[in-house]
């Protein structure tokens, strides 16, 4: 089989061995869950409940009238103890519904229904009602993404999982390929696409086989084996690799007739349609060299990361823990506290020991051009960094800062350890502020 990929990017160490062999397991419930009302791109939800209310798992507790938004649900049976701002993984606080978990949980019952007869509109409504967002990390509301203003000729299921360490999508491929394929068919029906591709990096041969065995004989579905290269799982790079189409700057995948959905999202779509089950839990990877038992876990949303870590045997040695990251090591967020809740976009919790923590300070750019060689968007991270550092944001934008999706490749390869992603973020802030004036 030919192995496809995109231009540039970087080969990273995989670090998947910690958890890739661990089957998905379920953990017990914490005493309290925290459901942020704004865990997606778009408008925040307003709470539908108040302190003292009894809620059931799956009950909608937050909603917004805006189209670009995603409703949130109680992930457990319990009592609302507060609706207040709580710390969020990005370092800010977000208005959240805090639920004290009932010791007795009713067995959640999700009514099964026939999905063969669902119309595209019904599928979309079910997705919206379930509060599904892109679960690869971007957390963009899925019903919006599935409402493209033009015809679509391919759906790509993003099963690259190109971030090192993370293995939850890999486990889902192996263990739930049937649900994934059903979800992919639903997505295909919604957007009216003639073809579905499963883009899988070839370091998951068992995942590739699992999907292949289920779609064998179906002409409109195909597994595309991809080179293990970062950022293969970025939408634009994935579309380039699978279909050889380039999404122009400032455009979205639908502009080239493609819709990309992550593995977890596709399975959530299947469950929302088949069982009318809202998005109240997700699979994530707990891993790193500082965790006692690296695992792939099915976790209720709102569970504090500290509780999840405890369920994996805690830290190997708390004194050695140097960094806790939510998400992958290339784009994830370093945490300062353990009461941060797992949200819809949380694909992993990484525990690094001090030896894995980057400590050196950054130096001047030596113009080696490694960032230019590796940038998957063909930008000039060297000039972006130099200009942003000296406050010349217009020039930083001219060399491509606004087209950067912050994959972190330039920082990874930089021999001077320059924080180019930070320079890009600052440029975007400054340019946006200048445009508002």
């Amino acid at each position: 089989m030919t192995v496809k990929t995109f231009e540039r990017g970087v080969f990273l160490p995989h670090y998947k061995e910690f958890s890739e062999g661990q089957p998905i397991s379920t953990i017990s419930l914490p005493e309290e869950v925290v459901i942020p009302l704004h865990q997606h791109t778009g408008a925040p939800c307003s709470a539908l409940v108040k302190a003292g209310d009894e809620v059931q798992a799956g009950q909608k507790i937050g909603e917004s009238p805006a189209f670009v938004s995603a409703c949130v649900h109680a992930s457990v049976d319990g009592t609302v103890v507060a609706v207040e701002p709580r710390p969020y993984f990005t370092g800010t606080t977000v208005e959240s519904v805090v639920i004290k978990v009932n010791p007795e949980q009713k067995e959640p019952r999700w009514p099964e229904r026939d999905i063969a007869s669902l119309s595209p509109e019904e599928i979309k409504a079910a997705i919206k009602e379930a509060g599904i967002v892109g679960m690869g990390g971007a957390a963009f509301p899925t019903h919006v993404k599935l409402s493209p203003p033009r015809s679509i000729d391919a759906v790509i299921i993003n099963a690259c999982e190109c971030e090192p360490f993370l293995t939850c999508d890999h486990r889902l491929l192996v263990e739930r390929a049937d649900a994934l394929v059903e979800g992919a068919k639903l997505i295909k029906r919604v957007v009216g696409a003639p073809k579905v591709y499963f883009g899988i990096e070839r370091n998951k041969p068992d995942g590739i086989e699992a999907v292949k065995s289920i779609i064998s004989g179906e002409k409109d579905m195909e597994v595309v084996s991809l080179e293990v290269k970062y950022p293969q799982g970025s939408e634009k790079q994935l579309i380039k690799a699978v279909m050889d189409r380039e999404v122009p700057p400032g455009k979205l995948p639908f502009d080239v007739g493609v819709v990309v959905q992550n593995v977890s999202t596709a399975i959530a779509i299947y469950e929302a349609c088949r069982y009318q089950k809202p998005l109240i839990e997700r699979v994530l990877t707990v891993t790193g060299d500082g965790i006692a038992r690296p695992s792939n876990l099915l976790v209720r949303l709102g569970t504090p990361i500290g509780f999840v870590i405890e369920q994996c045997g805690g830290f190997k040695d708390a004194a050695q823990v140097g960094k806790i990251i939510m998400g992958g090591p290339m784009t994830g967020w370093a945490q300062t506290r353990l009461d941060i809740p797992v949200v819809k976009g949380t694909s992993g919790i990484l525990v690094f020991t001090h030896s894995m923590v980057v400590k050196s300070e950054y130096k001047a750019c030596v113009r080696c051009g490694k960032c230019v060689d590796h940038c998957p968007m063909f930008l000039y991270p060297n000039y972006i960094g130099m200009y942003a550092e000296t406050g010349r944001y217009n020039l930083a934008a001219e060399w491509g800062a606004m087209d950067c999706f912050e994959c972190g490749v330039c920082v990874y390869v930089c021999p001077s350890n320059r924080p180019i992603v930070q320079f890009v973020r600052e440029t975007k802030r400054q340019i946006a502020a200048a445009r508002r004036k």
């Binding site: 000729d153 003639p194 634009k236 007739g257 004194a319 690094f352 130096k363 750019c365 030596v366 000039y380």
Partner: protein, 337 residues
């Protein structure tokens, strides 16, 4: 959930992984790559070469410390760049060079061309070449104080090789008959600067840098290729022009300097061709020596312009002709079930 006060968590923006590449690692590799030619020059010139190299390394370290201290900046000797510059300056001089000349070149290269410009990364010109060329203008001043300086010149024996004119000068004068054979020049031949004593040693070093991915082929190949083409056009032997003088040292070690060369392959090739053309004009029309040094230094000034000129399109920013294929569905015929 209690927040564990025991944890010492580092907060930093993504990404949280780094490649093992560092500036100091790259500088160390450049020194390793320069070792073969340094050793060959020591083989030919004995203590003269060792002395010159040590003087330049010491001058490099002292200059960097002095400028950093005066400007109240942290001393960055451990990045290795001063050592590389010191060694390169030494390799640019012949074995009979007075130590103060080499030391002054190092001082100007590191002090003026690098540190006064803001330190490593901010320099526009290659420090070693800037220093080397500067002393051509300044050294005549020494003649007014020669008496004082001559006494400061240690006697470490006479140079028992290279008493004849350098191959480059002989070539310029048309003395082809007295020139060493091509094979000898390629392997090792005394004559000229320390860094010109063995083409093979330079190529070994270049191969190592290529293997370590610190440089790529574009600049050396375009310089060498241009030199060859120009030599043929003017009816000269291209191999002599490539192997004698500073072409290889310049093409492999000077023009590829990260800080002072363009970043894209296209830019690097333009940069290399321009250097090659200038270099050959120097050799054929103007001065017999230092053509390589001057050409590279001259082109250093054009690097920002070349980068801007060769700015590549962003991902997805396709020319109109290619845009047509993008709009066409790739799999048009497959029917939905």
């Amino acid at each position: 959930m209690k927040v564990d006060k025991e944890l010492q968590l580092t907060v930093a923006p993504s990404p949280h992984l780094r490649s093992p590449d560092t500036v100091s690692g790259a500088m160390r590799d450049v020194i390793i790559a320069l070792l073969p030619v340094t050793l060959v020059s020591i083989y030919w010139y004995k203590w003269h070469a060792i002395f010159l190299v040590l003087v330049c390394l010491a001058a490099a370290a002292l200059t960097e410390i002095l400028f950093r201290k005066v400007m109240k900046k942290p001393v960055t000797l451990n990045d290795g760049s001063a050592m590389v510059t010191g060694l390169l300056v030494a390799l640019c001089f012949g074995p009979g060079t007075a130590w103060w000349t080499a030391a002054l070149a190092t001082f100007i290269g590191i002090g003026v061309a690098k540190e006064l410009m803001g330190g490593l990364g901010w320099n526009r010109f290659n420090p070693a070449l800037f220093g080397r060329l500067s002393v051509i203008l300044i050294v005549p001043l020494f003649q007014y104080v020669t008496a004082a300086f001559t006494g400061m010149r240690p006697f470490i024996g006479t140079i028992d090789v290279a008493t004849q004119a350098t191959p480059l000068a002989m070539m310029k004068q048309g003395l082809y008959s007295g020139m060493p054979s091509l094979g000898q020049i390629f392997l090792a031949h005394p004559g000229g600067a320390l860094g010109e004593t063995s083409a093979l040693a330079l190529l070994l070093g270049g191969g190592y840098l290529l293997y370590k991915k610190h440089i790529d082929w574009h600049i050396p190949v375009s310089i060498i290729g241009t030199v060859a083409v120009m030599a043929l056009l003017f009816g000269k032997n291209p191999l002599y022009h490539i192997l004698v003088g500073g072409v290889l040292l310049g093409a492999i070690f000077m023009a590829t300097d990260w800080v002072t060369s363009p970043v894209t392959p296209k830019g690097k090739i333009i940069f290399g061709i321009c250097i090659g053309v200038l270099l050959m004009l120097f050799r054929l029309v103007l001065a017999p020596t230092e053509g390589t040094a001057f050409s590279i230094l001259f082109m250093n000034a054009f690097v920002p312009f070349i980068d801007r000129l060769t700015k590549r399109p962003k991902f997805g920013e396709v020319p109109a002709a290619k845009a047509k294929t993008v709009a066409t569905p790739v799999q048009p015929s497959v029917k939905s079930s």
